[in-house]
Symmetry: C2
Subunit: 245 residues, 2 copies
């Protein structure tokens, strides 16, 4: 069983490297070198993988699906790894042949949160168009990495992710505009806040944009956050200032 | 040397209990019971302490100073513990007799962050109207608790605190309005965010208000944060939505 990784960006390289500890992994990238323990192959060859993980950006999923579609192996499993699920699964359904299995996955970690290992970290799995036997192969693979598997629908994933990962990235990116600095009198809460800024801003700007634009629930989340902030500002402004209360 | 604690709210009780491990501590409160190891005394008696920590809310510092002023012991050290420093130090200067020493302190922790001990946690110290010998007594006391002492001016403290503790509390309280929930697919960044909400909202609402209203730099901080959020929202709205980029 050969596992293929399509795309060796920040996450793709990390995922290839992680999987290579428990499986035979080959990878394709137009520009990046394969990490240690991973075989670099051509685009033709990567399409012949038994399990193919798409590790390109959300915005390029459609283009990639169109490119690989005619070259895929019958009975292969194609799994995206995007941070949203409704959109890429629909794109895979629309563009990949009926004779391949389709699975949505979202590893809820990356090179930062997984730097000390991925044990017990969650991976979301949306079993959309896949046989039970094929699904079990994937689940066994994730179990081998000691991941915590969370099966849910793409809709549920996107709603929950908007109000967890989505809001965290929005806060991190927004605070980053303020150029906050470490402080000698920081509270532990502030140190947690600096960690959030650093972690979210370590990811590519494109990932942030994709998280905000391709998840059908993030616009609503941002609107609610905006209202909460305005509510809080009004509340504070309505209170008498120093010495008057 | 007797240490007095004026006010046994959430922080006062914690501070009395913490100090009682290394010193003789008595406390006064109109309504709360003294924690174990701390002697409950009258308002008259608490004013006779050698070192008196004011642990009441920022908004009541002036009233308390006026009450205790005529009863204080000559040569005593009066130290506030407010989360802002410019304002309470000015109030103490204006209201306490010349024959007592005045010190501003801000323990950068509380019952939550200090629940496993206060070792290595920072305490801000603003030596405003105090003799070197008296200052050394206080620093020795804090060293005995293994605190990390950070001496700075009240102005520097308030500016730095607005952009660290102040912004953290503002974010925590604002996010709390959204009723975010733990998620089975949470990233570590989101878990940090939930911790921040919980920690900041465990403190009294009055402390939050005081942090925002009595620090001369928090209004500017809130305005900058507001602008950053609007900037980010505009940036996201200007990008074409799903499938167009």
């Amino acid at each position: 069983m050969v596992i293929g990784i399509y795309g060796l960006g920040r996450f793709g390289s990390f995922w290839a490297s992680t999987l290579s500890k428990v499986a035979d992994v080959q990878a394709y990238s137009r520009s990046s070198e394969a990490p240690e323990g991973v075989r670099a192959v051509t685009e033709e060859e990567i399409c012949k993988s038994d399990i193919l993980f798409l590790c390109n950006s959300i915005s390029s999923v459609e283009e990639v699906c169109k490119r690989i579609s005619p070259k895929l192996k019958r009975g292969a499993i194609v799994a995206d790894t995007c941070s949203v699920k409704v959109y890429p699964i629909q794109v895979m359904r629309d563009n990949l042949p009926d004779y391949v299995h389709i699975l949505g996955t979202h590893p809820m970690f990356g090179p930062d949160s997984g730097r000390y290992g991925v044990q017990n970290l969650p991976i979301a799995v949306c079993a959309e168009r896949i046989g039970q036997r094929e699904l079990d192969r994937i689940l066994d693979l994730f179990t081998g990495l000691e991941l915590r598997i969370e099966q849910l629908t793409a809709e549920d994933h996107d709603h929950e992710a908007a109000y967890s990962q989505g809001i965290t990235h929005f806060i991190g990116r927004t605070l980053n505009l303020l150029h906050l600095k470490p402080s000698r009198i920081s509270t532990t809460g502030y140190e947690d806040l600096l960690d959030i800024i650093q972690q979210t801003c370590n990811d590519r700007w494109q990932l942030f944009l994709d998280l905000q634009k391709y998840n059908p629930y993030t616009e609503e989340m941002r609107k609610k956050l905006h209202s909460s902030i305005e509510e809080m500002l009004v509340k504070l402004d309505s209170i008498d200032s120093i010495g008057d209360n």
